[in-house]
Symmetry: C2
Subunit: 411 residues, 2 copies
């Protein structure tokens, strides 16, 4: 498996400032990987609220079930993440393992197990030996520091070729608040599950219900608008924590409060930044692909059509081949099952219109398009000409490297 | 692009007997390919009935729209198929081109344009110059012979690595009737669209409505249960013709007539045989994959789960890598959105159970499974343990060759 950093990795990695109420520590517990950290403990001060969104899989992992259950309390004192073993499809052993991990963490932190949140990523179907956390978590709780964000983002990686962080500072009323986030990428399941995990922290004083509203609204056009291969991990988890350490900030009771406007924008920008980094690190990706659909009957219809294009192996292989193959885009529009009129379709690649009114654009210059297709970001725009529905999703190309990463590891 | 015959090609190709009421001819019209035939004319005796099923694409090709319109008459005198140009996404030019092709064919055959059926496969977005058929179809109508089934199947190929035919002989009452069929394979769109086309002929005297009922019922578990890459051509077409030349056979008015029982079985077997050959010639395919889902709440639910597995890039790349990766199968079950209980799932590869009750089967022998995964046919069985719903679909693995075929042709 290639360890080369994706050519689409961001050129600049931001420093993440300390964030009141959060302390971090990492360790190498030897769960699966040698010579690298594989456990993250995030300590959260009392009063921290929590929100979460999870995989829609009907076969979720044990940690996903754990978090769903604990979310009702709305409070969190610690997050424990391990890489190397997903604790997914491990039956009753899996449930016992999450319970034991939470018990060890609660003891280390000095809180109730109900305030412990868990995420695991890595091999699936293998029992996770939670006794490995015994001792480790106690030590980590002692060592935790405010300034270890990059280390934290590295500890949760599996097949990621770069660590993913984002940050924003913004005002609520007159108080400065910070948002720090990290993510790990998606694409592959066992034996090295590349589940999508993301954790976002803020010192803003937000109730759990406000945080949940913001998170649910925020993922729709960020994490839920990214697809690598159309496959859905059993462990996808996005948790948000609000410590309330920004004491001067006004307490906000409703997500629609106008004083939150700048915060919501920054929060969504952090989610969008992390989600785009996930697409940029799609397995084997050589090109980031943005698909915009406009003129659909509704936004929902535009989303379905955009996802049909984004998940089409024929569209994705064409982009890998640097081919502005609009015929395959038409195919993917047609198979989406949504209202579309072939004879009103127009399609552009990186701003160059190649098809209009259901046929090749007569002004289309093959040489110009071929040159544009060499860019490492490809923007496909499809105009349906039916209504005002619009959406945008991100994906990556489908390369031989993807097949190699996911099919060759036994050889 | 590789021209090597798929390692999954059938070892035996049947001879197709002459079939009363059908005469065939092929020509090299130079539509796109050099040095090979690219036009098929099938002449059908007066009284021939016709039925058809087509792509569900919302952006169908001009020939698909033409056939749908003409199907209402229920009669056919000729089928014209060209390879090399799909006449898809060609706007108004496309409609004019189908009309002109039908006019030329009707003149050559001496019938109404309403009795002409058309199918095109090949590059999309390029205008099809129908004047190329002028002269050619007249000559073909003169030359047509009863014994050219293999030549016919070759003329309709695009990226297929072998031609696909199937035949059956069966009795209706005391009369012997024949069913002959041909197909071309699926997987790739422009510039060499590998649309799925299939044409099935019988000399049984069946009304158009009986034939349509049989065809609609027959495709559900054959052609509609095959997927290569989840992409849907704008041109997929399956037409059935019944000449009625088997004069001694009783006329059948209802598809449910018990005298049709053996015929229906044989008809479905021909469709199943052709559909399996399409899967065996999936682009880049090295393994034929059969996915059986049982214990679902309904058959429809089983189909959706089976298709979710069959279209999962992670499952398909694992099979290419000869890895019995049941974790990815769980993932694909989970993402289908259908009722499933992780802790009741069991999964077998080629008869070897690898997972049961939501965890790894303790008796699972890695060496035995690894050996089984080297077979060129992989049978995945998923038991959900919820109800009596059951289904079976066919697909193939996802190899680097698939990416090469669909992404490399510009280089």
């Amino acid at each position: 498996m290639s360890n080369a950093v994706s050519p689409l990795a961001p050129k600049h990695v931001p420093d993440l400032p300390p964030l009141g109420g959060v302390r971090l520590a990492t360790a190498a517990a030897g769960i699966r990987y040698k010579g690298r950290t594989d456990v993250l403990l995030a300590l959260l001060d009392p009063g921290t609220t929590v929100a979460g969104v999870f995989t829609t899989s009907k076969c979720p992992s044990a940690p996903v079930e754990w978090c769903r259950g604990k979310l009702k309390g709305g409070k969190a004192r610690a997050l424990v993440v391990n890489s190397g073993n997903a604790n997914a499809f491990t039956g009753k052993t899996g449930r016992a393992s999450t319970a034991l991990t939470a018990k060890i963490a609660a003891k280390a932190v000095g809180c109730s197990v109900d305030d412990i949140f868990l995420a695991s990523t890595g091999v699936i179907g293998e029992p996770l030996d939670a006794t490995k956390f015994d001792g480790v978590l106690g030590t980590l709780a002692q060592q935790a520091e405010a300034d270890l964000w990059h280390d934290a983002a590295k500890a949760i990686m599996t097949t990621d070729t770069f660590f993913k962080v984002a940050t924003a500072t913004v005002k609520i009323g007159k108080a400065k608040v910070t948002i720090n986030g990290m993510a790990k990428g998606a694409g592959m399941i066992a034996p090295d599950m590349a589940t999508m995990l993301s954790f976002v922290f803020t010192d803003a004083p937000l109730s759990a219900s406000v945080l949940q509203s913001l998170l649910k609204a925020g993922v729709a056009n960020t994490f839920n608008a990214v697809t690598i291969d159309g496959d859905t991990s059993t462990s996808d988890t996005l948790l948000a924590f609000a410590t309330g350490a920004a004491k001067d900030a006004p307490k906000i009771a409703r997500a629609s409060d106008p004083r939150l406007k700048a915060f919501v924008k920054a929060f969504n920008a952090v989610l969008a930044d992390l989600a785009e980094q996930v697409a940029r690190d799609g397995e084997g990706a050589r090109k980031l692909v943005e698909i915009t659909v406009e003129g659909a009957t509704t936004d929902k219809s535009a989303r379905r059509i955009a996802m049909s294009i984004a998940n089409s192996p024929l569209v994705k292989t064409a982009i890998a081949g640097e081919d502005a193959n609009w015929g395959r885009v038409v195919m993917a529009v047609g198979k989406a099952g949504e209202p579309a009129d072939r004879d009103k379709l127009s399609i552009a690649f990186n701003g160059i219109r190649v098809a209009k009114n259901g046929a090749r654009d007569p002004s289309y210059d093959e040489a110009e398009v071929s040159k544009a297709m060499k860019d490492d970001v490809i923007r496909i725009k499809v105009a349906l000409g039916l209504g005002k529905g619009r959406d945008r999703v991100l994906t990556c190309d489908l390369t031989k490297e993807y097949v190699a990463i996911n099919g060759d590891y036994r050889s």
